[in-house]
């Protein structure tokens, strides 16, 4: 890559900080248009009047940084362009969208492009399209007449392929004397970098967030805008918009509960309209020992203070894609292969497919050979919006029920399942049975909830926050496989913890560069930072299958931030909650000396 000479001039002026971009005189990122978009306001009820009726009102400025996806595997592909067409081995969440992207960009028939993703090391929303890097690898392969492997470096990855927008949430919120939320006002801005976000198929990478989050407030006014800055563009990132929304709202909830003199748990139970989440709040409170352990903010004795906090999640997606297809091939020797053109992005999709198929056929999951991650299989959706589980499960159900039906007919056996399986398959003679099926209605739904509780210890002299325990209570309809489900939730909590305490893209306003495009100074949780995570599952078979990948990372930061505030008695309103910010919130940091 160093052999490529790029001729470019550094921009004479630039803006990299959101606050600076708000200034109408800031250097324009896009010529002829202001960096800050025109504010858009929504209002329900009569907010100004409602504040006057409140018994307690708080105001806070809650901020979240730009977060980088930082999957362990960076973006990239190996592409082989021969006379037969293009084959790309891609690190992607969407084999179909990469195929269509490559075909479009390179003017090839879609039938001549094959995309394979056997395994992949994480994407979190940033890996849908073919990307500049994919198209480039293909072109280089054509020129070289040989396969070309092009993986981005960690540096490239930090700069150019997406991030979660920041948020700067000015929230004013009030409640009536009985603890009913009554008035809410938010002005929020954030940056999606030089673009508005959104790579093909990835969905919302914009800076707006849902508000007021979770809770019912009759009088609410929300004003949002996005600010363009000269920095990497956003893309969808695990539950776009929700982790910052949860952090801001849940911080405000605790601050208001304190002002009202109410237990933050009771305050939530009173104002959360979701019966599922209210149930989860009670469950989680029991598990963490809220009644026994909760004490008013800042009253823990000693230098290292412990605290409790909780926060909630809502995730509107998680349902299945009606376009999902799949097929089964049953061989005379009794082996069976399920093929779906989806991809397993490390979430256990293959396990889910095997578990569903095994149950219908009366076999064990080990007996099912699952093949995904190849555009030669019947098409499936990209893995975004936590939709894969709810897409493949009903599809596999259909494929397997049809296959069983046909096998029973062909073999003449009334029940080909379980013990009868091999006998039935033998009757197929020499030709395998191949059956095609598709997603069916009624077996899945959307809108998972979830709440998390955190217990932290804060060293008030060094500012270090230790998360001791997280109780994660989640629902996702019918639970298909506990182990992979718990693994998603563990991962969500760990990512949420990074967001709470460590992660932050640092842009330098003097030079305009990113200062931490590596894992040394873009800090991520390591094993020793990870708390005891207790996963509590609420099984709701009546709702069908719902995805869990995204909701599991939504409430963690809010819960940790509230636990920190509860421990030390003052709020650190800005993520990440670093030792420096904890010491500052405690009033321990002396003024700096201007040189």
């Amino acid at each position: 890559m160093r052999a490529i000479l790029v001729k470019a001039e550094p921009a004479p002026s630039f803006v990299v900080k959101e606050q600076d971009g708000l200034d109408p005189d800031s250097p324009q990122v896009w010529e002829g248009s202001a960096n800050a978009s025109t504010p858009r306001t929504r209002e329900n009820g009569n907010v100004d009047q409602a504040f006057g009726q409140c018994a307690a009102v708080i105001e806070g400025f809650y901020t979240t940084p730009v977060q980088i996806h930082n999957p362990m595997e960076t973006h990239g592909n190996t592409v082989s362009w021969t006379g037969e067409g293009i084959t790309a081995w891609s690190s992607t969440q969407g084999i179909s969208s990469v195929r269509d992207g490559l075909a479009g960009a390179l003017k090839m028939d879609q039938s001549k492009v094959r995309v394979i993703t056997d395994f992949m090391g994480g994407g979190f929303g940033a890996k849908f399209g073919a990307g500049v890097e994919g198209v480039l690898a293909a072109r280089l392969s054509k020129e070289a007449g040989a396969p070309v492997r092009l993986m981005l470096t960690r540096f490239d990855q930090a700069l150019a392929v997406g991030n979660r927008p920041s948020s700067f949430q000015k929230i004013k919120m009030g409640a009536l004397a009985d603890g009913t939320l009554h008035a809410f006002e938010m002005e929020n801005y954030g940056t999606a970098g030089i673009g508005a976000g959104g790579d093909a198929g990835g969905g919302g990478g914009g800076a707006n967030i849902p508000a007021p989050y979770l809770y019912k407030v009759d009088n609410a006014r929300v004003t949002q805008r996005s600010v363009a800055v000269n920095a990497g563009s956003a893309r969808a990132f695990r539950a776009p918009g929700n982790p910052p929304a949860s952090f801001g709202m849940e911080s405000a909830m605790d601050d208001l509960a304190v002002k009202l003199g109410m237990d933050p748990l009771d305050f939530r139970l009173k104002n959360d309209p979701s019966p599922i989440r209210r149930k989860e709040l009670r469950l989680g409170a029991d598990k963490i020992g809220w009644k026994q352990k909760y004490r008013p903010p800042g009253t823990c004795p000693g230098i290292v203070k412990t605290g409790l906090g909780c926060a909630g999640a809502a995730w509107p997606a998680g349902g299945g894609s009606p376009f999902t297809q799949g097929e089964a091939q049953i061989n005379p020797d009794g082996s069976i292969e399920l093929r779906l053109g989806v991809q397993d992005i490390g979430t256990g999709t293959k396990t889910v497919i095997a578990v569903v198929a095994a149950e219908i056929l009366g076999l064990t999951p080990e007996q099912i050979t699952v093949r995904v991650g190849d555009t030669q299989y019947p098409a499936g959706p990209g893995s975004g919006g936590s939709t894969t589980c709810a897409s493949v499960s009903p599809t596999v159900n259909d494929v397997c029920n049809q296959a069983l039906d046909q096998l029973q007919k062909l073999s003449g056996m009334a029940d080909a399942r379980g013990q009868n399986w091999f006998d039935a398959c033998k009757k197929l003679g020499i030709s395998p049975l191949t059956v095609h099926g598709r997603w069916q209605k009624g077996l899945s739904s959307s809108h998972a909830c979830g709440v998390q509780f955190a217990e932290v210890a804060v060293d008030t002299e060094t500012g270090l926050v230790t998360v001791q325990k997280v109780v994660a209570v989640h629902d996702c309809g019918l639970i298909i496989d506990q182990l992979t489900l718990a693994s998603q939730i563990n991962g969500g909590v760990i990512m949420g913890m990074g967001y709470a305490l460590y992660e932050e893209r640092v842009m330098d306003d003097l030079s305009g560069v990113m200062l931490n495009p590596n894992f040394e100074t873009y800090k991520l949780p390591g094993i020793a930072d990870v708390p005891d995570i207790e996963v509590v599952l609420v099984n709701m078979p009546e709702r069908g299958v719902i995805g869990i990948g995204e909701p599991s990372t939504v409430p963690t930061a809010g819960a940790i931030a509230n636990a920190v505030a509860n421990a030390i008695g003052v709020r650190v309103p800005s993520l990440p909650i670093t030792p420096a910010k904890v010491l500052a919130a405690l009033g321990k940091v002396p003024p700096s000396i201007k040189s």
Binding site: L464, K523, A580, P590, S592, I593
Partner: protein
């Protein structure tokens, strides 16, 4: 990184010859390879010094323990005799980076590692330390930088071993132009205090042979504060060493890392602690003396209370 020649030296003399004017010694390579990959340095030749006999041993004498420059950080962490003679050194070693890095990182490389300033390590920035004309950190994001400096560069020393060796009053023996120089840690880093281009006082071709630690301070301790629990650089680190007889300190020394281009020491603090008991008032006063004159910048003032707490805790740890 740019292509380079690679040569292995089997004696200190051949190491020097192979290096010529523009090569670089490579020991564990943790620091050097990172610099090559980021194009911060592009030496035409790397001289592997790990095959030089004798530099990888720990020797115990009557008054000194001698640690060869090729001894790994992992060995300092796990060697039972080091643990009992210099608990602070063992604690410092155990906090460095990750087990994988400690397994290959050497004492010499740890002392001689270059600045970790995030402007310095950013390939697109040409700051003062890279022959540019501006210290970006001073004027912009200095959250990880020094509270003290003798020049315009405020990149702090980050060698945890250097800081601990300073508290132990260790001497680095450096082979320079055929002569063995004996440097205190203050001398080893003196150039970094004075000159913005320097990371330490080594001149091209200088080879660290060993570190000699006097056995006169049986009590030692090390603590660091970081953003994370492990595998993270110290925001502030503190090492202390002394003898502790009849409830009183003798020959106490305290040094701090990550707040100055050199391990930060104050004679006044050491003198004040001499003969004192270890109680909270004493250690707090010593901390005040150590931090007197600190010049916090816009984003690193938090290091002052953090350092204060660490000094107190590290000193109290000497009680055992």
């Amino acid at each position: 990184m740019k292509a380079f020649e690679y040569a292995t030296a089997f004696s200190t003399a051949s190491a020097r010859d192979l290096l010529a004017d523009d090569g670089a010694y490579i020991a564990g390579g943790n620091d050097l390879l990172g610099r090559l990959k980021e194009y911060l340095d592009s030496p035409p030749r790397l001289v592997n010094i790990k095959a030089i006999p004798g530099l990888d041993s720990i020797q115990h004498g009557d008054d000194f323990c001698t640690i060869g420059s090729l001894v790994t950080v992992a060995r300092l962490e796990t060697d039972p005799r080091i643990r009992s003679l210099f608990p602070g050194l063992q604690q410092a070693a155990a906090e460095i980076a990750s087990p994988q890095i400690r397994n290959v990182a050497t004492v010499g490389g740890n002392l001689a590692q270059h600045s970790r300033c995030w402007y310095y390590r950013q390939r697109d920035i040409q700051c003062l330390k890279k022959n540019g004309d501006l210290c970006y950190a001073r004027n912009s994001d200095n959250r990880y930088h020094s509270l003290f400096s003798g020049n315009d560069c405020i990149s702090p020393v980050v060698s945890s071993l250097g800081t601990t060796f300073a508290a132990l009053d260790a001497t680095a023996v450096v082979l320079s132009q055929g002569r063995e120089l004996r440097w205190s840690m203050a001398e080893f880093y003196a150039d970094a205090w004075k000159m913005h281009l320097a990371h330490n006082s080594l001149k091209p071709g200088d080879l660290i042979l060993r570190v000699e630690i006097p056995l006169s301070r049986p009590r030692s301790a090390y603590l660091q504060a970081s953003d994370k629990h492990v595998f993270d650089w110290a925001l502030v680190s503190c090492a202390a060493a002394a003898d502790f007889v009849d409830g009183k300190l003798t020959s106490p020394r305290v040094a701090l890392g990550s707040i100055s281009p050199v391990p930060h020491q104050m004679d006044k603090a050491n003198q004040f602690l001499e003969g004192k008991p270890l109680d909270s008032d004493t250690v707090a006063h010593a901390a005040d003396l150590l931090l007197a004159g600190a010049k916090p910048l816009e984003h690193n003032a938090y290091k002052v209370p953090m350092a204060h707490a660490l000094i107190c805790r590290t000193l109290l740890k000497l009680k055992g």
